[in-house]
């Protein structure tokens, strides 16, 4: 990978983020070394695609809202078809900091990991969260240790880098219900190596998180159930190309 220029695609899922998406795209286009940017508009009704396009991104418009899992997977399919070497997933609401992308990619090429997750909890810098969510995070970390035999501190983080092999795999097998935590388990169980590095994240500038504090516990129970069900699924046979 070194020496040759690595083609990187930033996949940005967005649902009704017209006020934030332009800034996110502009910031992504300033990242050096440069990355291509594709926004996946998950059936927005507020002109998110136009804002993204005006800011200079390529836009995949889903005619029907599929949810975050289906949207991100569309980006993976796009990347797999165009032969990108790596994908960085970045949320469309502006909470991820694009200038951290080179750190994610560097961690990936240095460690040889298939997936690098930007974690809010490895090193707490400028991100505060509610006590309920902190407990939830602990529980997830424990489940990951039990299932995968390794500690993942932030498996709900949607700020991640994937190499081409992981992208090909996920473009066919991306979980739909709670994709971030479920994909950690899926990837780990199918032999992909996962690393984490500490990253800064911003509080949300616009709108509210799709998971309000009150519903955190409910969310956690549902995710744990989904993970529990995932454990019964057969391992997916990987096709080597």
């Amino acid at each position: 990978m070194k020496g040759k220029s690595v083609r990187v695609l930033a996949v940005v899922p967005a649902f009704n983020e017209s006020s934030a998406i332009g800034g996110v795209v502009a910031e992504l286009l300033r990242v050096r070394p440069a990355v291509d940017v594709v926004v996946v508009d998950d059936g927005s009704t507020d002109g998110t695609s136009h804002a993204a396009e005006a800011a200079g991104a390529r836009v995949l418009r889903l005619p029907i809202n599929l949810g975050i899992g289906g949207a991100v997977q569309t980006g993976f399919r796009f990347a797999a078809r165009l032969g990108y070497d790596a994908v960085v997933q970045v949320d469309g609401d502006g909470q991820h900091v694009p200038s951290e992308i080179p750190a994610l990619l560097e961690a990936m090429s240095k460690s040889g990991a298939d997936v690098v997750i930007g974690s809010r909890f490895l090193d707490v810098r400028g991100y505060t969260t509610s006590p309920v969510r902190r407990i939830g995070t602990r529980v997830f970390a424990l489940v990951n240790s039990l299932v995968l035999g390794r500690r993942i501190t932030d498996n709900t983080s949607g700020f991640r880098a994937y190499n081409a092999g992981a992208v090909r795999f996920l473009s066919d097998n991306y979980p739909q219900d709670y994709p971030e935590p479920e994909s950690v388990i899926l990837l780990g169980r199918n032999g992909f190596s996962i690393r984490e590095i500490p990253v800064r994240m911003r509080g949300r500038e616009h709108g509210h998180s799709s998971i309000s504090a009150v519903r955190s516990v409910y969310y956690m129970v549902k995710v744990l159930l989904a993970i529990f069900i995932d454990l019964f699924k057969e391992r997916i046979v990987r096709q080597e190309q």
């Binding site: 996946v40 390529r58 995949l60 889903l62 005619p63 029907i64 599929l66 289906g70 997977q73 569309t74």
Partner: protein, 129 residues
């Protein structure tokens, strides 16, 4: 008392069977989805007509009132059909998702190619109109 239940369940079974065949004939119901229905109705009909079989089945699973065994069988048939539909709906959801994703990818490519053409040959495009 028992004979009335028997007549009622036979009648309901026959009507249901008639409706199913009618739906197939009019192309409103595909054969692969009708099969489970037909099988269920036939099982219920056989048990309604053949009381001896129903009674020995009821005795076998420990149900004292034989018609209850009929309801139990019908309930299980209904559950199997409902489960089958859940599987079908899951398949359809997956297929639908793939289609939506493909449409998004194709639209983007179309959009980009149209843009490329417009940039390269603006004259050509005007002439075609």
């Amino acid at each position: 008392m028992q004979i009335r239940i028997q007549i009622a369940s036979i009648l309901v079974g026959l009507v249901l069977l008639g409706v199913i065949f009618q739906l197939i004939r009019r192309n409103r119901l595909q054969e692969k989805y009708a099969l489970l229905w037909i099988a269920s109705v036939v099982i219920v009909l056989v048990l309604s007509v053949w009381r001896g079989l129903l009674e020995s089945f009821a005795a076998c699973v420990g149900i004292f009132y034989a018609p209850s065994a009929l309801f139990l069988v019908a309930l299980f048939c209904g559950m199997i059909i409902a489960l089958h539909f859940s599987v079908v709906v899951s398949d359809l959801t997956k297929q639908n998702k793939t289609l939506v994703q493909e449409i998004a990818l194709m639209k983007e490519e179309l959009h980009r190619r149209a843009g490329d053409r417009a940039r390269r040959k603006p004259v050509d495009r005007k002439r075609r109109r």
